[in-house]
């Protein structure tokens, strides 16, 4: 709170509604708020709150032993104006006071259409039987990587064997992977929980561009190592440690711009892992300085394949942008085994608010366009597609798979599973839930043992639900629904939208 800055003091976003009748002055809320919102006044033996500091994370509310706290939106309203919403007005105040770029975390919070909510799934009735997933085996196993154009077999001494040499594949027991979240942006406790949950669930987590902490090398079999424009933490041991390598070109939350880890978050361990001096800002360039064309990308893909003896699939991750389909086609032709596409609702630890909210396109449209383009060009088999950015539940995921994704990346749901309340203040480095912070006092709040359980439970629950959807559709293997848009119908969508999504309207 700046002295004399009445606007930011009084036009606060949240109100800490404390029932003083129920408050026992135990000060748990005082100790739990990293922003100093709750203050104990010893002389009066009372706990009060400075509303201007509250970010609406609900940590105090969750921890209060008497339930005396309710976090409410500040209902004080500016004069109604269709163009000038409260958030717009407050943003101008903030920038007029600081001259800075507005920062935020998590993914786009604007009300662009969520196409998942306009797509409905099919089920079997009478003429084709549904399957009970509790009684019959259901197959969610997914292979990610380049598939051959044709298969050739040879017969030796009466035994038939495969002659075609298969490209390296990632075997996922469930088609859900943890998306790239770098050590530094999130802390080691969360990285460890992701790694252990991936191991327990037979799937993978992604290191992001933060390198691989030495204590996490043992989870290599469930690790996708990322090579981003900053090349932080990349060396031979790092590339060898994981089972796949991902080249990050773009990220859904901030297409076209690089990552930014403030120097305050670069402590000793982050410095060692990223291979940069302590306290320096870790700024990833917006582009890879050695990639200015598909040909350049091909060079990096093959350099990485060469470095790892062609034993690991190489993925290329891009933001969902206007020309995603054409770009994806180039990526596949450049030799990528997996194309990851991150939609506009994809999350981040820190991004300029205006970029996050206004750049990119929804994953639903990008995914449908990319899948269709690769099919039309006859190269869909040459790469798997991982869709990312905004998945909220198992139905979003099965719809994505029916639209053409081989698997999906989840980031925000993984954070929510360990306590995140989507307060969007990740960039402050003070995450009250101990996720996007390296402050040892706060990071302890994420106990990796509990986090592993929560993440494993989430994947287990979603896998069960996906099996229920499949059973209802009379399908017993996820392969049978992949790209099967005939099992999707749109509601409340225009002709144009239906055409891009490649689905019929409900009733057709």
């Amino acid at each position: 709170m700046a002295v004399g800055d009445l606007k930011s003091n009084n036009y606060c976003d949240f109100i800490v509604d404390r029932d003083q009748e129920r408050c026992i002055q135990c000060q748990v809320c005082v100790r739990q708020c990293p922003y100093g919102t709750n203050i104990y006044k010893e002389a009066d033996n009372i706990v009060v709150s400075d509303f201007s500091l509250c970010t609406g994370c609900h940590r105090c509310e969750a921890m209060c032993p008497t339930g005396c706290i309710t976090i409410r939106r500040n209902t004080s309203e500016f004069r109604e104006h269709f163009n000038w919403k409260a958030a717009d007005i407050k943003n101008v105040y903030k920038q007029a006071a600081t001259g800075g770029v507005l920062l935020t975390g998590i993914g786009c919070d604007k009300d662009y259409p969520i196409y998942w909510d306009h797509i409905l799934l099919d089920a079997c009735q009478v003429t084709n039987p549904s399957i009970d997933p509790l009684r019959e085996p259901m197959e969610l196993r997914t292979f990610l990587g380049r598939k051959p154009d044709t298969l050739e077999f040879e017969e030796k001494a009466g035994k038939i064997s495969l002659k075609t040499e298969l490209a390296p594949q990632l075997v996922c027991e469930i088609p859900i992977l943890f998306s790239a979240m770098s050590y530094g942006a999130v802390n080691l406790n969360f990285c460890e929980a992701l790694a252990r949950a991936a191991e327990a669930s037979g799937t993978y987590y992604n290191t992001g561009e933060g390198g691989l902490h030495r204590t996490l090398f043992k989870y290599g079999k469930n690790t996708i190592v990322q090579v981003a424009s900053g090349r932080f933490g990349v060396d031979k041991a790092y590339l060898d440690a994981g089972v796949a390598i991902e080249i990050k070109i773009g990220q859904g939350a901030k297409p076209g711009i690089g990552g930014h880890l403030p120097g305050e978050k670069v402590g000793k361990e982050v410095s060692l892992t990223r291979m940069i001096p302590i306290g320096t800002d870790a700024l990833s360039p917006a582009p890879h300085h050695d990639i200015y064309s598909i040909e350049d990308l091909r060079q990096l893909i093959y350099a990485l394949k060469e470095a790892t003896d062609y034993t690991k699939p190489v993925s290329v991750k891009i933001s969902a942008v206007h020309n995603a389909a054409a770009i994806a086609s180039g990526i596949v032709r450049a030799g990528a085994d997996i194309v990851a596409i991150d939609g506009v609702r994809g999350g981040t630890g820190a991004a300029p608010t205006m970029i996050r909210d206004n750049v990119g396109i929804p994953i639903e449209l990008a995914l449908a366009a990319v899948d269709q383009r690769l099919r039309d060009e006859g190269i869909r088999n040459q790469a798997s597609i991982i869709a990312a950015g905004g998945f909220r539940n198992s139905s979003d995921i099965i719809k994505a798979i029916a639209l053409g994704a081989d698997a999906v990346y989840i980031g925000t749901p993984a954070m929510i599973a360990v306590g995140c309340t989507v307060c969007q203040k990740c960039y402050t480095g003070k995450c009250p839930w101990g996720i996007t912070t390296n402050d040892p006092y706060l990071a302890k709040r994420l106990n990796p043992d509990i986090g592993t359980e929560q993440l494993t439970n989430l994947l287990k629950a979603w896998a069960r639900e996906i099996k229920e959807f499949m059973g209802a559709m009379g399908i017993n293997a996820i392969e049978s629904i992949r790209g099967n848009r005939e099992r999707l119908r749109g509601v409340n969508l225009s002709e144009r939208e239906l055409k891009i999504l490649g689905i019929k309207h409900a009733g057709e």
Binding site: I24, C26, G434, K444, D449
Partner: protein, 149 residues
């Protein structure tokens, strides 16, 4: 015997263990009444903090308990080796020898009484409960109630 073991890496200094302990040892076991009692019950669990490090300290119920040896009145006692060390508040004269002897700093002075009667205050592992209150409330699994021999 089962004892309460803290895990320093997971302690987040919320001090909910102190809240739960206080309530459990209050007369009414009602959180609102317990905090309004005058004098207020003492928590037997105490969270020690130093910067980012914190840890909840309770009586270790040592096999070879120095506090029992040090006690001049026999107030500090235990039934057998498998029982918790408890203090008989009627016998305790407040000489604080147990506090001097305790290697963990897990015993406190209770000087709240209006009649100036001083007694030692310490963890009794919550008789009547299967899980001590502090372990049950800990939101980050920083306390374990286990038999580690």
């Amino acid at each position: 015997m089962k004892r309460v073991y803290p895990k320093e890496d997971a302690c987040i200094n919320c001090k909910l263990c102190e809240v739960a302990c206080l309530v459990e040892h209050s007369e009414t076991k009602d959180i609102f009444k317990a905090y309004r009692d005058v004098p207020r019950t003492l928590s037997k669990a105490l969270v020690e903090e130093d910067g980012p490090n914190s840890i909840s300290i309770q009586c270790r119920h040592c096999t070879d308990a120095p506090c029992i040896d040090a006690c001049i009145t026999g107030a500090m006692q235990r039934q057998d080796d498998e029982s918790p060390v408890i203090v008989d508040r009627e016998k305790c004269v407040g000489c604080w020898m147990c506090i001097m002897a305790c290697p963990y700093g897990a015993i406190q002075m209770d000087v709240r009484k209006k009649d100036k009667h001083k007694v030692s205050s310490k963890c009794d592992l919550c008789p009547g409960r299967t899980m001590p209150a502090c372990v049950e409330i800990c939101p980050n699994r920083a306390l374990f109630f286990e038999d580690r021999g």
